[in-house]
């Protein structure tokens, strides 16, 4: 199931809220959340829910095992087996066909890999459980004794399929005891509606424009302007899609008493690639920092090699294709260059130029990310830099921009901390004035966002049939 669906919003969520809050018994609530999470997952993946349960159970046992034999050889064996098991299933489902393709290409063989559908969210939940077992091994957290609670931690539908990668340590207290605070619920609702709006009213519309340009069957006929527009729209789409999902996850968490860490912090206002990755998909960046980069030696030993390993892996995590690896390495190179130039010098450059540099790099990076087909990627880059016999601009692009201009302005503003600015102002006003109408504005705001998003979701099913057959 996905958040941006009518079934979720109007049936699943209210039912979940009602059943959850109908009793104060903590075990009952945990059970409800876990069961709903299973249904949520099984909605799209009826088979793979068993893989999820199996995989989580292995990690649950490993956690207990490691704790019991802490400091001995057996604990080491436990951690190794967890890594092999989790990375193994991740590799099997996500990367084996990529490996087969490459082996076939290099050796001229023709091995056929049996096709599986990729279990949704596998990249998220395997990383989540890996981080848990490593934390237990490092004695940073206590192993969870209750299978039920552990199951709930792994399967929580808020973040199961699209992140953020929630660390056990962040919510371990809330797994055991959650406080019911109505303020949290109200805040969570607003956060959820904002996320839903970002996904449905911005990302989905950007996606239509991306398809129009970047999926054009005649890609090489696009003008330079159209190609840039397409790639910029993809930058909008991926940010609002992903951060909208994170917002919804955080909002849902708050509705049920969980506090997940922020996953995005206005990445497009970053000034350097290093800064960008502190703001983009923070839970993934910190995962690789804490569980790969630092254990490898960080910047103290083989710093640059470690950097490239981390960035190649970051790229690969996003998808089983070379373009994702190159995309990761592209950022690795930028970060390396930034370190070579030193931040002391970089900070002397006016912010405006740094932001231009970063946006340019990020948008180019998204082009690399988008095209899994290298020949199309080449066409795209040729067009972006006008190294082809094509037009600079097409008048239809002027029309497209005009027709979406207010929406584009909204999207660009929301990439900057404008919303944050108004929220802070609003809160100050609320504290100072104590006015009813102000509070109503807040409530109305979330309901309006909900209504617009609902309309757009209903509108998606609009599918006219144009034959004249009775």
């Amino acid at each position: 199931m996905v958040f941006a669906s009518l079934t979720f919003l109007y049936f699943f969520l209210p039912l979940n809220l009602i059943l959850y809050y109908s009793s104060k018994n903590a075990s009952y609530r945990n059970l409800i959340l876990t069961l709903f999470s299973f249904v949520f997952y099984a909605w799209g993946e009826p088979i793979w829910v068993f893989l999820l349960i199996f995989s989580a159970s292995v990690d649950y046992l490993n956690g207990l095992f490691i704790e019991k034999y802490r400091g001995t050889f057996w604990a080491k064996l436990g951690i190794v087996s967890t890594l092999i098991f989790n990375l193994g299933i991740l590799f099997f489902f996500k990367y084996s066909s990529f490996l087969y393709d490459n082996v076939n290409y290099l050796c001229g063989t023709n091995f056929q890999f049996p096709k599986y559908t990729l279990p949704i969210g596998i990249s998220f939940y395997t990383f989540q459980t890996i981080s848990y077992v490593i934390d237990v091994y490092r004695n940073e957290v206590k192993a969870q004794r209750s299978w039920m609670k552990f199951m709930m931690f792994v399967s929580l539908y808020h973040q199961l399929v699209a992140g953020p990668i929630v660390r056990y340590s962040h919510i371990m207290n809330e797994i055991d005891t959650r406080k019911f605070r109505i303020r949290d619920i109200s805040g969570g609702i607003t956060r959820f509606c904002v996320g839903l709006f970002k996904k449905v009213a911005i990302a989905n519309i950007a996606a239509e424009l991306v398809v129009k340009y970047l999926d054009n069957p005649d890609l090489s006929s696009l003008s330079t302007g159209e190609m840039w527009f397409g790639v910029i729209m993809f930058s909008i789409q991926i940010y609002f899609d992903f951060s909208g999902y994170s917002d919804m996850a955080i909002g849902l968490g708050r509705m049920f008493g969980f506090h997940y860490h922020e996953n995005f912090n206005y990445p497009y206002i970053a000034k350097t690639a290093t800064d960008f990755w502190r703001r983009w998909h923070i839970s993934l960046g910190t995962f690789f920092r804490d569980y790969v980069y630092i254990p490898l030696g960080g910047n103290k030993k083989n710093g640059y090699l470690n950097l490239f390993i981390v960035w190649a892996l970051t790229g690969l995590w996003h998808g089983a294709n070379w373009n994702f690896i190159f995309w990761g390495l592209f950022f690795g190179i930028l970060i390396m260059l930034e370190r070579l130039v030193t931040f002391k010098k970089i900070n002397k450059v006016p912010s405006f130029f740094l932001r231009i540099y970063l946006l340019f790099a990020v948008v180019l990076g998204w082009a690399l990310f988008y095209f899994t087909d290298s020949s199309k990627l080449l066409v795209c880059f040729r067009s972006l830099f006008h190294i082809a016999d094509i037009a600079w601009w097409d008048y239809s692009l002027t029309l497209t921009i005009k027709e979406n201009i207010y929406w584009m302005i909204l999207a660009f503003l929301l990439c900057m901390p404008v919303y944050q600015y108004f929220v802070v102002k609003y809160r100050k006003l609320l504290l100072a004035k104590n006015s009813k109408s102000l509070y109503w504005t807040g409530i109305a705001f979330s309901i309006v966002l909900l209504m617009i998003s609902t309309a757009l979701m209903v509108g998606k099913s609009y599918n006219p049939f144009i034959y004249y057959r009775f």
């Binding site: 049936f11 519309i205 129009k212 029309l399 909900l450």
Partner: protein, 520 residues
């Protein structure tokens, strides 16, 4: 704001939010469900049928999502709200808009059955994926009219021409075959400042040039252009009006040696305002504002229309309506896209017509009924019978293909037209003379087909020659010509030339020799 009040208003927020969710959910169950959406002209998704297989592959639950979306309470109001959101997103140019994507293939076809239809694609590497693609490159909205952008090209024309030539070789030359390529809005209304896409009339002319004699082509573009200020095309619908089709009918009569009925001899019926297919797809405000009216030119002949249910029984069927009274849009003509119909008129001239058409032909049919004893109408997208059998058993004298350029440039349509010919019993007749072996008298004019020429002498390993078994070489001043075939009949040579063009020899030309010397 003090903490207590804050607590209170937060609770209110929660109550309101859940109330909205629950209200919609309750309404979903309470509001009576409809099965057909008038707005979209389609059947809404039914509640899925339970089966373990459906559950296992996820389709059961996916269908529930579709069911919920299709039956959401006050769905049409929500869709209107989407229009408002989208309209508020920018500035709509009052005059022009361009929507480029391939969602505008209007006469789409169920392509699932077509994979077995072999089009003998020899030189052109048209991938089968293209069968699913249409030739429409998008839509331009100009002055409140939707104009489809044409993306057809020569390679599709060749395929289409080869299929019409199949029909030609199958039937005796006494049976007239007509090709009427129909250009749509773009031909007449595409503004010069914003030219987009390819020319439909040029594409049609190219197609016609590849058709073997005695197929007759009816060129309607120039004549219709003279009437472009009249209401000949709808604004919000991708079809022509019946007035537009009337001018095409006049042109047809000229070529088919028939006398067209004067426009004054029709009765006019006004059916009022409607919004057509292009509006339904785009929901564009400009199309909505301009809109369309349905003005029907009714014929005065006596006729009987039968909807043939069984596609092998050419006489029995239920009565149909020429101008379907429950439909106030283009769909009224001959009651829409039925697979197979028959019209018998009071005309006595021993001429019996088969029209092989898609919905563009619908408005044309009433006009044609005025000039034939019997008209059989086949919608090639749905017809399951055999054109061969129909033509042979019903003494057909004329076959007409009124085909929009958009369709003749779409592989699935070409496949479909080919697949319904279905030559039965008699073996497939092939009138193409085997020109390679025929000996001709050297004293008279001889026609050959030049496939290529070169400054240097080439042998059979040359890429243009390696697939040709018998060819001859002719040295002309300072270059070498390579030729195939040898015949005294110019028509046969043209037929061969067309075949060579279809095989990918784009530059094939007919050459005349007398006493072994090149004349022209």
């Amino acid at each position: 704001m003090d903490a207590k009040k804050f607590h209170k208003t937060s609770a209110l927020h929660l109550i309101l939010f859940t109330a909205v969710l629950i209200l919609c959910a309750v309404l979903f169950f309470v509001v009576p469900k409809i099965n057909i959406s008038q707005m979209e002209n389609r059947k809404l998704t039914p509640f899925p049928v339970y089966s373990w297989q459906n559950i296992e592959n996820g389709s059961y639950l996916d269908s529930i999502d579709l069911y919920v979306a299709d039956h959401f309470p006050f769905r049409e109001k929500w869709v209107d709200l989407v229009d408002q959101y989208r309209n508020a997103g920018g500035i709509k140019d009052g005059q022009i808009a361009i929507i480029e994507n391939d969602n505008f293939t209007m006469e789409s076809i169920d392509t699932s059955k077509l994979d077995s239809v072999n089009l003998n694609i020899i030189q052109d590497s048209i991938k089968l994926d293209n069968a699913k693609l249409g030739s429409a490159k998008g839509l331009m909205i100009y002055d409140g009219m939707g104009i489809q952008i044409f993306g057809g090209s020569k390679k599709y024309s060749k395929l289409f021409a080869s299929v019409i030539n199949d029909y030609r070789t199958t039937f005796d030359s006494k049976i007239n075959i007509y090709y009427m390529g129909i250009p749509a809005h773009g031909e007449y209304y595409m503004p010069d400042d914003y030219k987009k896409g390819n020319s439909e009339s040029k594409n049609i002319e190219f197609t016609a040039s590849l058709l073997n004699a005695p197929t007759k082509s009816i060129f309607i573009a120039d004549y219709i252009r003279q009437h472009r200020k009249e209401y000949i095309f709808f604004n919000s619908d991708h079809h022509w009006t019946d007035l537009g089709s009337y001018y095409a009918y006049q042109k047809f009569c000229e070529v088919a040696s028939l006398k067209a009925i004067e426009i004054e001899n029709y009765d006019i019926e006004y059916r009022g305002h409607f919004l057509g297919s292009l509006y339904q797809i785009t929901r564009d405000q400009r199309l909505k504002e301009k809109g369309d009216s349905l003005i029907i030119h009714k014929i005065r002949n006596k006729y009987a229309m039968k909807v043939l249910d069984n596609q092998k029984n050419y006489t029995k069927g239920s009565a149909g309506q020429m101008y379907y009274k429950w439909n106030n849009s283009y769909g009224c003509y001959i009651s829409g896209d039925l697979p197979f119909e028959r019209f018998d008129s009071d005309v006595k001239n021993n001429r019996r017509l088969v029209v092989i058409k898609n919905s563009f032909g619908n408005a044309l049919i009433p006009h044609l009924v005025q000039n034939f004893e019997t008209v059989f109408v086949i919608d090639y997208r749905y017809f399951e019978g055999s054109v061969y059998d129909l033509v042979m058993s019903q003494d057909i004298t004329d076959i007409l293909f009124p085909i929009p350029a958009f369709s003749s440039n779409t592989v699935s349509h070409i496949q479909r037209i080919k697949s319904i010919l279905k030559v039965t019993n008699a073996k497939e007749s092939n009138h193409l003379v085997n020109l390679q072996t025929q000996k001709a008298n050297p004293q008279v004019a001889i026609f050959k087909v030049q496939i290529c020429s070169a400054k240097e002498q080439k042998d059979s390993s040359f890429y243009l020659l390696k697939n040709i078994h018998h060819y001859s070489e002719y040295k002309n001043k300072n270059y070498f010509m390579y030729l195939v075939g040898e015949t005294e009949s110019y028509n046969e040579a043209v037929t061969l030339k067309n075949k060579m063009v279809l095989d990918g020899y784009d530059d094939a030309t007919v050459r005349m020799f007398i006493n072994g010397k090149l004349i022209r």
